[in-house]
Amino acid sequence: MNLEELQQIASGVHNENLLFDFEVNVCQGTGCLSQHSDDIKAALEAALAASGKKALIRRTGCMGLCAAGPLVLIEPDAQLLQHVTVKHADAVINSLGATPVAELQCDLRQHFDDQDHVVLENSGRIDPEKIDEYIARDGYQGLVMALTDMRPADVIKQITESGLRGRGGGGYPTGLKWGMVAKAQSETKYVICNGDEGDPGAFMDRSGLESDPQRVIEGMAIAAYAVGASKGYIYVRAEYPLAVSRLTVSLREARRRGLLGNNICGTPFNFDIEIRLGAGAFVCGEETALIASIEGLRGTPRVRPPYPAASGLWGKPTLINNVETFANVPTILRKGGAWFAAIGTAKSKGTKVFALTGKIRNTGLVEVPMGMPLRQIVEGIGGGVPEGRTFKAVQTGGPSGGCIPAELLDIEVSYESLIQAGSMMGSGGMIVMDDTSCMVNVAKFFMEFCMTESCGKCIPCRAGTVQMHTLLTRICDGSGTMDDLDLLVDLCSTVKEASLCGLGQTAPNPVLSTLRYFKQEYMDHIVNKRCTAGVCNINHAAEVIA
């Protein structure tokens, strides 16, 4: 395979598409599929056959606006139809080249105009199981360029120049990590893609793997070339069956096209990828726990150093990056590190995909340049909280993050500013809460999560989360005291300082951030025995335990 052959495949696809007057893209992401968008596609095909029009009906990945699903996108006019059902099939086909169906029009300009799609550029545009469609949209150019024109050190230089940082939440500079693995001396090295998206309320990685799996595979192959690895693993949650099946097909397609396997592009570079299924353990998102899980062991983290870059899978140097990090790589190589570095802020470069959910009008997946004010995401792109309710907080970073109140909505989205606000970037979950959410209860919810997901290896996390959960439960049911609150704050710092891995170190964050911005709600529960949001079931008869 070389650039010319890629061009040939691409023009083959373009020529084929020229035979059609219209392209009807039907979203088949998990959200729309759950509303039977596969039946809609079949109905559209039947209606098309009857009409005699020339249109290509294509299965695509996620189009982003899950709230308006099932979605259908008609090209060449970029006409987006929402809430399509099987009944609309005839009307949609009849509208091709005529007046659009008025009742299905989705007119959310601002939602799409304010976004900047890099990772999601192909999502909802290509059939995720057809590698040639990915190639037709410049796919695999990055890998072929790297293999034929660049030395591994040049690849790492581009990545370093781009300023890309780990999208799993930590924000470690990707170029630096790659450099460390590349320098490690070993015959065998591994590349692992972390698709164990455990943060409840986040689905960026699922959507990426379902909508554009080849992009992740290409990113991994480029990384393997840069660091000198010949074997890769994609660790995906077992809860994501559609992502697993699309990945399986995509790996087979990539091998068929000679983009995985031995002597890729006629060079001495060999690389292949295996899928490993997670089995439902949040802690496996931590890199050393994930490695233990791939080795077939219980997913418990271990002390670092040595970091996986020096000693990872089976004791060999291992590069671990998140799905979204790898998904950025092909575009960086194609357009250059400087292009990527021009997007975003001084220290946070590029774009970030967020899963915008909760009490917000336009739920779904959005991708915005770093540095965009939080307000623009929530109120502009997200459309704000539904009528009649007021915004209270937005939660980022999952169980490791925190709640950002209304008065801080003007901060920009970047690794630094979110940490400053007491939260963190995390993997990209963004959950909007209105005045019907009780912040103490939210803290309890996350603590319950951390308590059950704690692997039990180190005591501060294992015992501390249980104690904090007990205290929060007491406060929520109205039997908490001011002493309980002091003890809670005390425990927060112990667990934060003394835990072994990220799970424990960040478990107190939801408590700390709600205490920082919503202390009055804690006081209402403790002193006034009242839950203003009306969520907590306060037992007024409860004896105050001194």
């Binding site: 409840p200 809860e239 490993r276 077939g296 959950i431």
Partner: protein
């Protein structure tokens, strides 16, 4: 050199051949433990003692380690599931949108708590830690079919249908 032959299949159930196939594909490597347990669970629906013993012996993994892995990961179940499974997502987005009510409703309708199966073995009530369909929260899965948003009624209707089957 001492060579240990793999243990015989626990029974002539054809599904053991599928399990064996997974282990063979991984060269009977110890690291194939989780992958193999996945195959057992998807073939049999759960992991019983015989299955864990068979897999542990075949892969030369101490039984304690195999049992440790089975009980560590939430996905693996030691009990057979009901004929139908209702799974309710308790992820953050679903929590914000009131999944607790959905769960309470299902619990009172079925008379069991989460993680249990009705005494007649008909319905299992499970919770999931986020199925990644937050755009449609709150979410429930009836036998793997995803129901979103205001589908609480649909969920209850499905329960009624299962009950009379």
């Amino acid at each position: 050199m001492l060579s240990i032959s793999p243990p015989p299949l626990p029974s002539d159930d054809k599904r053991w051949k599928i399990v064996n196939g997974t282990m063979r594909r991984h060269g009977f490597a110890r690291s194939a433990l989780i992958e193999t347990l996945h195959t057992v669970q998807s073939s049999f629906g759960y992991l019983d003692t015989d299955a864990i013993q068979f897999v542990a012996h075949s892969l030369h993994v101490p039984l304690s380690q195999a049992y440790g892995v089975v009980t560590f990961y939430h996905h693996f179940s030691l009990k057979p599931p009901g004929r139908h499974t209702l799974m309710i997502c308790t992820g953050t987005a679903c929590y914000i949108k009131g999944t607790e009510k959905l769960l309470a409703e299902a619990e009172s309708r079925l008379g069991i708590s989460q993680g249990q199966t009705t005494p007649d073995g008909n319905i299992s009530l499970m919770t999931a830690r986020c199925v990644g369909a937050c755009g449609r929260a709150p979410v429930a899965l009836t036998d793997g079919e995803l129901l979103g948003q205001s589908d609480a009624e649909h969920m209850m209707a499905e329960l009624e249908r299962w009950a009379v089957e």
